[in-house]
Amino acid sequence: MTYNSNYTSTHSPPSYSHYTSQYNHQMSSIVTDEEHKTQIYNQSLDQSSMVNLNSSWVNYKDFQDTSCSTAANTRRFTGAWVTTLFLIVCLKMFFSIIPGISPEASWTLTNLSFNFGSFIMFHWVQGIPFENNQGAYDGLTLWEQIDGGIQFTATRKFLTAVPIVLFLLSTHYTHYDFITFGINFTALVVVLVAKLPLMHRVRVFGINKFDMD
């Protein structure tokens, strides 16, 4: 038995004038410019509605607000910054104690594993692990989330300087041949290019692109 009333046949076609921009009522897949703008607007609205725990840990800005400024500033840089340096030292030590390894090989391994790890964490993985805001950060890498997308902040400068310094140190302490130099330099260039402002939200050849519509 069905209780479907004849209501549908009598009522007038719905008018969506108030909501055309908020509801994707059109059945076509082509998202209009207006709708796209609204989506971007809603996304930035959702992003600013609460602290992004996924990126705020990299610089712990909150400590700056405390009245005790010197202590605050020292604590500010003790989070991810020191962790990065600590990780590099650990990596280098780990690769150096392998019996019979040459300094070239250990530096190359250190360079590669650090650059690969940071590329995965900062430039490959998207979104945030603890979802609580309807996917406000979907499709954004951690690098793009840091400091709310502001370029050339202290954290970004630090994280850019680290691989460069690491590379220069490694060339200094070793006698790379052409191949090892090439490998190290390429890894560095890939990481650096990914950090450039002009690569913000750019997915080269659509690799790793997250489709939202």
């Binding site: 069905t2 209780y3 479907n4 009333s5 004849n6 209501y7 549908t8 009598t10 009522h11 719905p14 008018s15 969506y16 108030h18 909501y19 908020q22 509801y23 994707n24 009522h25 059945m27 897949s29 809603n42 996304q43 959702d46 979802e131 609580n132 309807q134 996917g135 406000a136 979907d138 709310g148 997308g149 502001i150 370029q151 050339f152 902040t153 400068k157 850019t160 300087a161 460069i164 590379f167 220069l168 060339t171 200094h172 006698h175 130099f181 330099f185 560095l188 650096l192 402002p197 913000h200 939200r201 997250f210 489709d211 939202m212 519509d213």
Partner: protein, 526 residues
């Protein structure tokens, strides 16, 4: 100092001598800078007979220096930059809006005509200045549980034992045994694995939808759903597709569209939901559940069914739409209901599998962030469920009254004036909407008018409501947030029957509504 001509053959010895001394001076100066020896040593070791390498490294250093000295800026910053002069101008131009905006005519009507009940709510409350109590056809007290002494007694007992408030959200000390009992009772009554209770009926569905559907997910929604569902669907930020109210062919068309689109555009697999209402609050009709379940299985969607109006009244046991259509409740992924309608308590619930419920304990915003319902309301709901399952006559009485009301309102004299939603004589819904017939409205158009303004139609119905009150019956206009409804229904009155009224009372009330409509419609705009 030796003449440079011995090293660099040149015709002009003097100039070279000057150049040479300059070089020496520079190198001495560089060496005098603290730390410069280290830098030079670094360059010497790094050089390693390979100028190309040094150039690359220098480029790197320059890149680093440039990056370090760059100024902060925000990408895609579309904030309007104003000069201080412009800001001053804007400030002087600004006149604050009144804190309380002036009332519109509609607001004034709503305010003036608000019904004020003195004393307890029930099937026959005292209303405003009326001498005699009115027959209440305006509340969702379908089963008459609102004035049940058994529930009242239980509530007082609970109040003595647990106090009033629950003192916290469910995750933080807000859950006590009676809440867990209630969750178990609801799950058992529906025949599902588990249920979770929310503190407000309205925020239940608008919290359940966004708990599961996020950005990029797909929600297919009936375009006649109530306001709470619309809000839930909107704040989920998902991609929303609407299908025509209760039209399964249109639903299938939308689902097929999405399927083809996904194939053509090679979209990633996302979560998909069909959201609809069991008994439509705004239209009084029932969703064709068997067909929807068939489609959801065919296209692999999950079904969220809002049973706020249907829970407790539809079906042989009153377990809602699944009961009515004899479908196991597990077939519907999430059954959302209200405890504030037929059960005459407060709050809402979502019932489903363990996974569905577990997920909401940390992701249902309204569950996590508001205090749980007071213990006495939880106990009242449990008691109401117990009464409902132990008294089958309640439902037969209710359906008998509903049939009676429908048969009286379907009278010939009303046919040219009104439309009933839903009109079928044995439709099981315990309430119906009455809307003015379009042909009637068209016959009363004033000169130069294309359609009757919404406000006038509201006033017409308010007159009917007032006339009913004079005749001893309380009904009410259905109220909508006109500007925000996706598909705002036309003005109507919502007439609810109650099992607490005797057959005679119901007949009298329906007769009063009928005569009020005839009287008011007859003199309207004449």
């Amino acid at each position: 100092m030796n003449p440079p001509s011995s090293i660099l053959p040149s015709t002009d010895g003097d100039d070279l001598a000057i150049l040479n001394t300059t070089f020496v001076a520079i190198s001495e100066f560089i060496l005098s800078i603290p730390g410069s020896a280290g830098v030079l040593r670094y360059i010497k070791t790094s050089y390693q007979d390979d100028p190309f390498r040094v150039v690359l490294e220098l480029i790197l250093v320059f890149f680093a220096i440039q990056y370090m000295s760059a100024k902060k800026y925000k990408i895609d910053d579309n904030a309007v930059k104003l000069t201080s002069k412009e800001i001053d101008e804007l400030v002087t131009e600004w006149t604050p809006e009144p804190l309380v905006p002036p009332l519109s005519d509609q607001d004034r009507l709503d305010l003036e005509k608000s019904t004020l009940i003195t004393g307890a709510q029930g099937p026959k409350p005292r209303v405003g200045s009326n001498q005699k109590p009115l027959l209440n056809l305006a509340s969702a007290n379908y089963l008459g549980l609102c004035s049940s002494d058994r529930i009242k007694e239980k509530a007082v007992q609970t109040l003595r034992e647990y106090g009033v408030g629950s003192c916290g959200p469910p995750g933080f000390y807000g859950t006590i045994d009676v809440h867990m009992d209630l969750e178990r009772n609801i799950a058992q009554f529906l025949g599902v694995e588990e249920a979770i209770i929310y503190a407000q009926g309205f925020s239940t569905i608008s919290s359940v939808v966004p708990a599961f559907a996020k950005r990029g997910d797909v929600i297919v929604v009936d375009d006649g759903v109530n306001f709470a569902i619309q809000k839930g669907v909107f704040i989920s930020r998902s991609n929303v597709r609407w299908f025509k109210h209760n039209d399964v062919n249109d639903l299938e068309r939308v689902l097929e569209d999405i399927r083809v689109e996904d194939l053509v555009l090679k979209k990633r697999l996302t979560r998909r939901f069909i959201v609809t209402e069991g008994l439509f609050q705004n239209h009084g009709d029932i969703a064709p559940l068997p067909k929807i379940i068939e489609l959801k299985r065919k296209y692999k969607y999950r079904l969220i069914l809002d049973e706020s109006q249907s829970f407790g009244v539809l079906g042989r046991r009153g377990a809602g739409l699944t009961d009515l259509f004899d479908i196991p409740a597990q077939e519907v992924d999430m059954i959302v209901g209200s405890m504030a309608t037929s059960l005459c308590s407060a709050g809402g619930f979502c019932a489903g599998s363990h996974e569905i419920v577990d997920h909401q304990r940390l992701s249902g915003s309204a569950y996590c962030f508001s205090a749980s319902i007071p213990a006495m309301l939880a106990v009242s709901t449990s008691e109401a469920l117990a009464i409902l399952s132990s008294t089958p006559t309640l439902l037969t009485d209710l359906h008998d009254r509903a049939r009676l009301l429908r048969s009286i309102l379907a009278h010939r004299s009303l046919t040219p004036l009104i439309d009933l939603y839903a009109p079928e004589p044995d439709h099981p819904a315990p309430f119906l909407h009455i809307r003015a017939r379009e042909t009637f409205l068209a016959s009363r158009l004033r000169d130069g008018e294309r359609a009757v303004p919404r406000e006038d139609e509201e006033r017409l119905w308010q007159e009917v409501v007032d006339e009913c009150a004079n005749q001893g019956v309380m009904i009410t206009r259905a109220k909508y947030v006109v500007k925000q409804e996706v598909n705002c229904p036309r003005p109507s009155v919502r007439v609810c029957v109650s099992a607490a009224h005797t057959r005679k009372e119901c007949e009298k009330a329906a007769g009063a509504v009928k005569s009020a409509i005839v009287k008011v419609f007859g003199r309207w705009r004449k």
